[in-house]
Amino acid sequence: MLDLLLTPRPSYWAESPIVAQFGFGAPSLDRRLHGGLDQTALHEIITENQYNAAAATAVALLLALRGAVAGKPIILLREDRDVRRFGRLYAPSLIELGMPVDSLLQVTAASSIAVLQAGADAIKSGAVGAVVIATAGRTLALDLTASRRLALVTARMGLPTLLLRLAAEPTPSAAQTRWQVTSAPSTGLAENAPGLPAFDLNLLRHRGGIAPFSARVEWDSDQRCFRDAPLFGAAPSVAGVRAAAAP
C-alpha cells in the first residue's frame, strides 16, 4: 500500500479538489486526463475481439486495484460461459501483477442479468473497494438504463466500478469514460524474451469533454502503476513493427 501512496497522486488531488480521482500512474496519460479518472464513476473498458481479452481484463483489474477504496477487497463478477470461453483467472499471475489475491472475490453467475444484479448488490453493500463487472459479446441486458442505474449507485456509494466488455461493440452507455484496450508489443528483454505487459489504451469517449486520444503504457508490477511505454527500447525488428501497426 505504501508504494501507492508514494505515487504522485496527491498533487492531482490538489488540482481537482471536488471529485476524488485515481490516476494511471503514467504522467503523460494522467496529464491529458486532467489528473485521472473519477473514483466514484462508472468506467467502461472494451475490446472488440477475443484475442485481446487478457489485456482488457488486466487493465480493468489493475485500474480497480489503483482506484479501490483503501482497505477494502475487490470483487470481479463474470458469466459462467465466459469462464469456459476465456479460461479461469489464474491467481499466480495476479500475484505477479501485484494484485493482493486474498482480497479478490470472484463471482460467477449463469446469466448477464444475474451478473449485473450481483454487481449492483456488491456496489450497494459498501463492503468492497472496487467492482469489476465483466460481460462478453452482445449483452442485451446491459442497455443505457442498466448502465445508468449502475453509474448512479456507484456515485452514491463512492467507489469505482469498471465495466469490462470483452469481444463487444461499443453501445450507448452512461459510463464516465470508455477505453478500448488492445495488447501492445512489449519492450523485448534479453534473448528476445517478451517484456513487461504493454497495452494500447484508446480513449473513445469522456463525459468530461476530453478529446479522444491513444497512449501506449506498460504495467510496472513493483510500483503498481502504469507507465509510459518507452519509444525506443530494444526495438523489435522492422517487420515486426509493420505487422504490429497493421490491424
Binding site: K72, Y90, I95, L189, S237
Partner: protein
C-alpha cells in the same frame, strides 16, 4: 392384490393386502400357487426402494411431532420419541396419536399406532394388538424370538407375555438364553433402549404452528422472520451465532420442504437471516409448492459457533468485515456457494493445480503465496484454459520454439519467445510412473498478444510427434 419379487428364480409373494390375506394368501407363497388358489389375483412388482423412500418421507413428515424420529429395524415402521412433546396436542399423547392416524389416513395409508413406555413395547403393541393397551396381554409372538422359541413357549402353556413375565427369570434364561431376557425387559419397560434419530436434533430450534395453513411464500417469509427473531434471542442467550440455518416447511399432507442457508461467519442478526431466506426462496429452480398450505414452519440452527456481542472497532474494521460477510452470504445463497470464490494456492507444480478457487463462504486456511521476482515480467498467464486448447504449430526444428501457430481460426506469427520452461508430469502419482513432460513457451506475436504454449511430450524421447497446446493468455 399382491406384490411379488424374484427369489432364486421363483416368483414369491412378498406382501399381500387385506383382501388377499382374507383369501388365505400369505407372503412366502409362490406366485403359481397363489394363482392356483385365486386366479384373478392382481400382481405388481415389489419395489423395496420405493417402499424405503415412502418411509423416509413419512419419517420427515413425523418431524412435526418430535425431532427424534427413527425408522424401525425391520424397515416397516416409524418410532417417535414423544417424551415432552405431547402436551402441545389436545388430549396429550393419545391426541398426538390420533392426529398422526388422521393425517396418514388422509393419504390412504392403513396405519397401526401405539403409545408405550419403550420403543420395543410400542413396536410390539403396534404389530400385534394396537387395540390392547396392556403389554402383558400380548401373545408371546410379540417377543419376536423366532418360530421355534414361540412354539416352545406355547407348549409350556405360556400364551401371553404376562404369563412369561410371571416365570422365574433364571429358568427362562436357562431354557431360552439371555437374548430372550433382554427382549422381555425391553418390552416390559424394565430396560430402556434409546432411539437413534435419523437427524440429530438441532441445538436451537424454534417453530410456529399455524391454525390456518398458509399458501403464499410471502406469508411464509413473514413467519420465518418472526422465527428468526426468536432464534436470535435464543442464540444471544447462549453467546452463539449460527453458521447454518434450516427452515422446514410442513405441508398439511405429508410433504416436507427444507431450505438451508450457510453463512461465512457466525450470524444472529434476525434481519439478515430473514433476508438470506428470501434470497434462497427467490433462487429456487422450481418454486415452493404450497399444496393445501403449510401448517408448521420450523427454523433450526444445526451449526453453532461462538459469537460475542458486537462491538464496533474505532477504525471501522469490524463493520467492513461484517458487511463483507453479509455480501458473501447473500451472493452465495442466491448463486450457489461454488460461484462465490477466493483463490488459494494448491500444493503442486502442475500449472492447473497450482491454485484452486474455493467457496468464500467456507473457512479457508491462511494462505501463503510465493513472492515473485521484482522487475520480471509475469511468468504465468492471466487467463488459464482448463483444459488446454489444441493448436497447430509450425516450428523450425521439432524440439525448438514455435514460429507460427493457429488458434481459434487465426494465424499468429511469433515475434518473441522465452523458453522452454520444462514441467515434468507428477510421475509419483501415476501407476506406471510415466507421464508426458511439458515444454512451456512464453511467446508474443507480431500484434503484441502474449500466449502460453506447451509441447506435450519430449520430441523423439517421449513422443514421436508431440502435440501443441495453448494453455493461457498473458496480460
Amino acid at each position: 392384490m399382491a406384490l411379488v419379487a424374484k427369489v432364486r428364480g421363483a416368483l414369491l409373494l412378498e406382501a399381500v393386502d387385506t383382501k388377499a390375506a382374507a383369501l388365505g394368501l400369505a407372503p412366502g407363497l409362490t406366485l403359481a400357487d397363489a394363482r392356483a388358489r385365486v386366479p384373478d389375483l392382481a400382481v405388481r412388482d415389489h419395489d423395496p426402494v420405493a417402499d424405503q423412500a415412502l418411509l423416509e418421507a413419512l419419517a420427515d413428515a413425523c418431524g412435526r411431532y418430535t425431532p427424534t424420529v427413527a425408522i424401525a429395524a425391520a424397515s416397516d415402521g416409524l418410532l417417535l420419541d414423544i417424551s415432552g412433546c405431547e402436551h402441545v396436542f389436545v388430549g396429550g399423547e393419545h391426541g398426538l396419536r390420533n392426529d398422526a392416524l388422521r393425517r396418514f389416513g388422509r393419504l390412504g395409508l392403513t396405519v397401526q399406532a401405539a403409545v408405550a413406555d419403550t420403543p420395543a413395547a410400542a413396536i410390539a403393541l403396534a404389530r400385534y394388538a394396537a387395540a390392547l393397551d396392556k403389554i402383558t396381554d400380548l401373545p408371546v409372538q410379540a417377543l419376536e424370538l423366532g418360530a421355534e422359541a414361540t412354539t416352545a413357549l406355547r407348549r409350556a402353556g405360556l400364551r401371553v407375555i404376562g404369563d412369561v413375565a410371571a416365570q422365574s427369570r433364571s429358568a427362562l434364561a436357562a431354557r431360552f438364553g439371555n437374548a430372550m431376557l433382554g427382549r422381555l425387559a425391553a418390552i416390559l419397560g424394565e430396560e430402556d433402549a434409546r432411539l437413534i434419530p435419523r437427524r440429530a436434533p438441532p441445538p436451537v430450534l424454534t417453530e410456529a404452528r399455524l391454525a390456518e395453513p398458509i399458501l403464499r411464500s410471502q406469508e411464509a417469509l413473514r413467519v420465518i422472520s418472526d422465527l428468526a427473531l426468536q432464534t436470535a434471542r435464543a442464540l444471544e442467550a447462549r453467546g452463539m451465532g449460527g453458521r447454518r440455518f434450516e427452515v422446514t416447511l410442513f405441508r398439511t399432507d405429508h410433504h416436507v420442504a427444507r431450505l438451508a442457508v450457510d453463512t461465512a461467519q457466525p450470524l444472529r442478526d434476525p434481519r439478515r437471516i430473514a433476508k438470506l431466506f428470501a434470497e434462497r426462496l427467490d433462487s429456487l429452480a422450481d418454486p415452493l409448492d404450497p399444496g393445501f398450505g403449510f401448517d408448521l414452519i420450523r427454523l433450526a440452527v444445526p451449526l453453532l459457533e461462538p459469537l460475542e456481542a458486537l462491538q464496533l472497532k474505532l477504525e471501522g474494521g469490524a463493520a467492513v468485515e461484517n458487511s463483507m460477510a453479509a455480501l458473501i452470504d447473500q451472493l452465495s445463497t442466491r448463486l450457489g456457494r461454488e460461484r462465490v470464490t477466493r483463490a488459494v494456492p494448491g500444493d503442486s507444480h502442475i500449472p492447473e493445480q497450482a491454485t484452486f478457487d474455493l467457496p468464500a463462504i467456507a473457512d479457508t486456511p491462511a494462505t501463503v503465496w510465493s513472492i515473485p521476482e521484482p522487475g520480471e515480467p509475469p511468468q504465468r498467464p492471466l487467463y488459464l484454459f482448463d483444459p488446454p486448447e489444441r493448436i497447430e504449430v509450425m516450428a523450425e526444428v521439432p524440439d525448438g520454439p514455435p514460429r507460427r501457430f493457429k488458434w481459434r481460426a487465426q494465424m499468429h506469427d511469433v515475434l518473441r519467445h522465452e523458453g522452454p520452461e520444462r514441467i515434468a508430469a507428477e510421475w509419483w502419482r501415476r501407476k506406471n510412473g510415466k507421464g508426458l513432460t511439458r515444454d512451456y513457451y512464453r511467446v508474443e506475436d507480431v500484434r503484441g498478444r502474449r500466449f502460453w504454449l506447451f509441447r506435450h511430450g519430449l520430441y523423439g524421447r517421449e513422443k514421436a510427434q508431440p502435440n501443441w497446446y495453448l494453455h493461457g493468455l498473458f496480460a
